[in-house]
Symmetry: C2
Subunit: 395 residues, 2 copies
């Protein structure tokens, strides 16, 4: 009998709650406001097809060969050019989606039982990526503008227990859709520098603003104190698994070695496809169409919520970009218990509890306004309101 | 001043010796017998171009969307069909190159200081993938037929120190090019089962046989006791980063969770491209052309060695497939010291010491016969012989 003795860290790994919910919601006819899937309408299929032709026609052998772990040089340069501060392409590392950047950061910065700080709530995928390295995850209290500076200072720890970093998603956060204000960013960067605390800034949604671009990234304010993560998943397509990080020289070499050990390099073919698509200012023309679509769908969701939730004592925010809206049920309700009532009525969402490192608010839930159409959003929110009305109240 | 406090495991990460050598050998005009790069002549560029058209034309939105962590179902089925034992597609996990399979296995099976067993010598990329999880790596003595069963039994350990697995590459091994014999395979599987020792079987080169296919995989003999790793890098192209593992139900769910945390999923576009290319028995027509080319180049290297190394007391083997040949210098010589003499003469190789977990044989070196052409191999081996003659002898 083979003795499959699993590593202790395997006990920390868990299937994504969201992916489990998505399986439940695959029944025909259900409107899913649960998933974080970009609208496939936004995928530039024709531009990719043309890019494939060019890449395989002109550079096929190199695109299909083993390549440098750092990434394809022209793509690294294009990324450095895109970013709104002075970035040396040598500090850009191409990753297999920005999820991989989280994995590499975890490997390089987290020891078992070391402290890391996250927002309240935070991105579930980050918690999953960090978990195998067995950190002690401490949630910093947060309001609508992001993490609270005083609570950050109170929780940073000291000595061997000093936090390794704060993981933060300032723009149109997943799950809440909230955006960190200019004043909070300035205060956070100042306090982090004072504490010597590294910041890990995740920015997959920053380009998806509706009326005004968000304030400058944290990293732009202190590049030596931050690792910045970006992604092409939301502005081009997630199925190519193409993300990147920008790291200071203090950590870049180790992140690169971790990358090499993890998968040698990100597919060179995909890197060339994206570099080819980006030529000639394509993103400047393409991304506004995504913004317009998502703004339209956010508006549809806000209108439906105002109409359907009247009198139900439900609260929600109005995200200024991104893909998600955050909703809070009336006192006494639990979003996990609401979910089956909603699924019965053909609508799905993600209970907010999934996104808390600790002390979850059971009344919260996340709604995506980008995967379903405006018409489906209307129907879905109507069904959600019906489910809320059907929820057994204890009073 | 930001306090970048690195994890202890970061000290175990090192840049690949091979990649550092490859950088040295990028000077113009050098013939590299060092790299493990498949010949770009073997990349089916036209078939990929056609597959891109089909995938983006018929299934573009799905190819570019987020997808299941397990992988693209038709590809998992095609892989199960390819393998020479009864494989349930549900046990196939698509990975971002087989390097990622090593990373996932390390995360799920290695605790800090736990023992793992490897061949002598072994694949450097595996040592790199395992290192961040901080195992105690124990090298099992090996001969031309693979690991020695008695030494395996002596080194397996017991109790908390019992080895978590033996990592083994039975076909046309990297770096030695050797193949495990039928009788050794049978003995190894029997002994491992008796010891309760899991086997991790890596098979990137198995299809590249020259005259006769190698004996059946270890996993085919005991699927519940083995994790099997395969790759499309050598039979199609490495630049797509597409590999897979087959694991028993005792470990598959944790490997899947580790995969999800590592990069969510392998690019769906690439998976569909390969599934499309494989249709209609493409590999049955394509792989024989690779075998013929590599056999021709192996023969060129063997002929050049026989001609040029006469009287130099150099030994080498005659690989029956794969990409590499293993050479041993005369007593008193050190391949690391030979390298600069060779590079001066415009030829590069990888010193064998890189591939030993411990007690390296400094006289060994690895030669690739697939990246350079036959003519270059001839010139390169001539230059290598000149370098050996120029090596200062102490006697």
């Amino acid at each position: 009998m083979t003795n499959w003795n699993l590593a202790a860290r395997a006990a920390k790994m868990n299937p994504s709650v969201i992916r489990e919910i998505l399986k439940v919601t695959e029944k025909p006819g259900i409107i899913s406001l649960a998933g974080g899937l970009p609208s496939p309408k936004t995928f530039p299929v024709d531009a990719f097809a043309k890019a494939c032709e060019v890449v395989l026609g002109h550079d096929g052998a190199a695109a299909l060969q083993y390549a440098a772990s750092e990434g394809y040089a022209p793509l690294r340069e294009a990324i450095a050019d895109l970013l709104p501060w002075n970035v040396d392409p040598a500090q850009v590392l191409i990753t297999t989606g920005s999820q991989q950047a989280l994995d590499l950061i975890a490997k390089v910065l987290i020891d078992a039982d070391s402290r890391i700080l996250v927002e309240t709530p935070t991105y579930l995928g980050a918690l999953q990526a960090f978990a195998p390295m067995e950190p002690q995850v401490v949630a910093v209290d947060s309001d609508n503008e992001g993490v609270l500076i005083d609570d950050l200072a109170a929780k940073v720890g000291s000595g061997a227990d000093k936090a390794r970093f704060l993981y933060v998603l300032p723009n149109f956060q997943n799950p809440t859709g909230r955006t960190m204000s200019e004043s909070r960013r300035a205060a956070l960067v100042e306090k982090a520098a004072q504490l010597g605390l590294p910041l890990v800034e995740d920015n997959p949604y920053g380009d998806l603003w509706f009326d005004n671009p968000p304030p400058a990234p944290l990293t732009a304010r202190n590049p030596e104190g931050c690792i910045y993560m970006g992604s092409f998943s939301k502005v081009l397509a997630p199925g190519l698994r193409l993300g990147y990080l920008v790291a200071p020289t203090a950590v870049y070499p180790k992140l690169l070695q971790a990358k090499q050990a993890a998968d040698l390099h990100t597919p060179g073919f995909n890197q060339r496809m994206v570099a080819e698509v980006m030529k000639g200012g394509f993103l400047d023309r393409h991304v506004p169409t995504i913004r317009a679509l998502y703004k339209h769908q956010r508006d549809a969701m806000l209108e439906a919520l105002q109409r359907e939730m009247a009198g139900l004592q439900v609260e929600w925010n109005s995200p200024e970009g991104g893909m998600f809206l955050w909703l809070r049920l009336p006192e006494g309700m639990n979003a996990i218990e609401l979910l089956p009532l909603a699924v019965e009525r053909n609508v799905a969402f993600v209970p907010g509890a999934a996104f808390y490192a600790s002390d979850a608010d059971p009344r919260t839930l996340r709604l995506s306004f980008v995967t379903a159409s405006s018409a489906q959003i209307n129907t879905g929110i109507t069904a959600l309101a019906t489910a809320i009305r059907a929820y057994p109240r204890s009073t």
